[in-house]
């Protein structure tokens, strides 16, 4: 894609922000430089591959903002957790390690809603506001719901340790699959693990003669994990029928009404899925009330499971069909847990989304390329 003149993109960004303002959102303008520690703690090392890190002699490591959501959430939570709607427009910075043609600095326009009164209504509001801003453009919506997979996990016959391990790796499908196979007894126990279990079963102490203790991880921590390993070995395998149910849920890909029907059927065997499907139904009703054609709205349970890991409920995107070279023109989702992480005790349900104005402008024919 040819880059468009920055002044034109900025004008489009401000025009979009004005729309969100007119709909009741307060404009905010977070700093470009953000303390790196917060973002690193949140995203882990992956963010280093994607964000520019620089050093400040007094403030320590700083990051050129890779997105607006985190600073907006921080600002909101610092001022209390009251309901609010925000909008913003500005550039974000992303390193491109593998594709030189992708921009490393581009505009985002966003809308974020902090409001727990009617979460599904807020989901629909953000989605509809963005769909509306993109109306007339050749874009295709995609939706998903991380909450559906989380609810399915809650219904499986798993120990708390095993469930926590799966929840932790929701965003890493490969490790997630390896864990499922392991818990289902489909993978042979590694020789090292076997030997360890045999030693413990015989009343031996694996730590005896283990060598010099070095580093911060203490003998107590090692013993605590040995205990967990021993407990886990006594766990019955996850029944094949349940793995099958989980696969049906995570592999769900259909138009929204059909997906909802099938999820309701599965919920008969997996009761904790019930409340999550109710939320999905309410969201579809709310979308319908806002004029979205839910009958043709695609739903994919796995959508958004490979992105940055703060979304924990509704997720959506708008892509350009036939143009795999273009990034999504808009993305968004619900991030309730993020407000708790950054809120130091306080929390508020929140959902938001961003538009990339340069891509939108491109589709409007703003450039020949």
């Amino acid at each position: 894609m040819n880059r468009l003149p920055k002044a034109e993109v900025r004008a489009e960004a401000l025009r979009l922000r004005a729309r969100f303002e007119a709909a009741g959102a307060t404009p905010v303008d977070p700093a470009v430089l953000q303390p790196a520690a917060t973002l690193l703690d949140l995203y882990g090392e992956d963010i280093r591959a994607r964000a520019y890190v620089t050093a400040d002699p007094l403030r320590g490591e700083q990051m050129l903002r890779p997105d607006f959501t985190v600073p907006v959430v921080q600002e909101h939570m610092a001022g209390g957790a009251d309901p609010a709607r925000y909008t913003y427009a500005g550039v974000v910075f992303r390193k491109q390690e593998n594709d030189e043609t992708r921009p490393n600095e581009y505009f985002q326009v966003g809308l974020e809603i902090f409001d727990g009164a009617d979460p599904e209504g807020a989901d629909a509001e953000v989605f509809a506001a963005i769909a509306d801003a993109l109306s007339g453009l050749a874009v295709k919506p995609a939706t998903g719901d991380i909450g559906i997979t989380r609810a399915a996990l809650a219904g499986l016959s798993l120990s708390d340790d095993r469930r926590a391990a799966l929840m932790r790796h929701l965003w890493r499908p490969r490790r997630f699959r390896a864990l499922i196979d392991q818990f289902a007894g489909r993978k042979p126990t590694a020789p090292h693990r076997k030997a360890l279990l045999a030693t413990m079963a015989a009343g031996g102490d694996p730590l005896a003669g283990a060598g010099t203790m070095i580093g911060l991880r203490s003998a107590d921590e090692i013993r605590a994990r040995l205990d967990r390993i021993a407990r886990d070995a006594d766990q019955p395998p996850l029944p094949a029928a349940e793995v099958d149910l989980l696969d049906q849920v995570t592999g769900m890909k259909d138009m929204a009404p059909a997906a909802l029907e099938r999820l309701r059927d599965i919920a008969v065997d997996l009761p904790p899925l019930g409340p999550a499907t109710t939320r999905l139904a309410r969201r579809l009703d709310a979308l319908d009330a806002r004029g979205i054609d839910v009958g043709t709205l695609p739903f994919e349970a796995g959508f958004g499971r490979t992105t940055l890991e703060y979304y924990d409920g509704f997720v959506f995107g708008f892509t350009v069909p036939g143009r795999p070279d273009l990034p999504p023109v808009a993305t968004g989702g619900r991030y309730d847990a993020l407000t708790r992480l950054l809120g130091r005790g306080a929390a508020i349900p929140a959902v938001g989304g961003i538009i990339r104005p340069e891509i939108a402008l491109h589709l409007r024919g703003g450039a020949s390329g």
Partner: protein, 232 residues
């Protein structure tokens, strides 16, 4: 009109490189005083010798300032993003073998695999309030490996030397470093994870994809490759 060949400017890597070319009928030598980094190639016309630090050779190849270069395959992969867009491997030279591995304290009897490390990292973060620290200087290679393996709750801390000592010194919980025999690791009470080999490195002759090729250079390269293919 000349091909620039970059080779390590000192140490065993330089000597072995000279030997490797020597065995193929090309004499590489330093010229001038011992301290002057100038060199010459005899046995073929049109090749200039450039002596460089092994760690600078990847960058010089990517910038196209040298046509050919000898350095460790680990350095090329760690220094250059999308390394195979910038350089191609002409020859694996069979020396300078070293593995980039993840190592943890021997006393971690519960940790043998990368999956164990991931699980220990989760518990460590919950207990200590920060991510498990892995000391390394090979940031890109280690990060890409751990991402591929789906490891979470870790952070990389930079260590440009004496990395094996960081765990004992309390600045890291685990390390990712180059080892050839594992002796230094053992001496520092560390063990390699059973599936923790990130990259098996060796000295490699690279060709730059970015260097400008003048008339005659391609013929020189062909002539050079003919010579390198045959041990004298």
């Amino acid at each position: 009109m000349t091909l620039k060949l970059g080779v390590p400017s000192k140490g065993r890597l330089m000597e072995k490189t000279f030997d490797w070319f020597g065995a193929r009928g090309l004499t590489l030598q330093r010229t001038g005083s011992d301290r002057e980094y100038a060199g010459a190639v005899t046995g073929i016309d049109g090749v200039d010798l450039v002596l460089l630090s092994a760690s600078e050779i990847p960058r010089e190849l990517a910038a196209g300032r040298i046509h050919l270069g000898v350095t460790g395959s680990d350095l090329v992969r760690d220094t250059l993003a999308a390394w195979d867009d910038h350089v191609t491997e002409l020859d694996l030279m069979g020396f300078g073998h070293a593995d980039l591995v993840i190592a943890v304290p021997q006393a971690w009897v519960d940790v043998d695999s990368v999956a164990d490390l991931d699980s220990a990292a989760a518990a460590f973060r919950a207990e200590h309030g920060f991510r498990l620290r892995i000391a390394t200087k090979y940031h890109r290679l280690v990060r890409e490996f751990l991402k591929r393996e789906g490891v979470a709750d870790y952070q990389l801390v930079d260590s440009q030397g004496a990395t094996e000592g960081t765990v004992k010194n309390g600045t890291a919980e685990a390390i990712a470093d180059i080892t050839s025999t594992g002796e230094t690791l053992r001496a520092n009470h560390l063990k390699v994870l059973s599936d923790g080999v990130i990259h098996r490195s060796q000295a490699t002759l690279f060709k730059s994809r970015k260097a400008g090729w003048q008339p005659g250079d391609r013929e020189t390269l062909t002539a050079l490759q003919d010579r390198l293919g045959t041990l004298v």
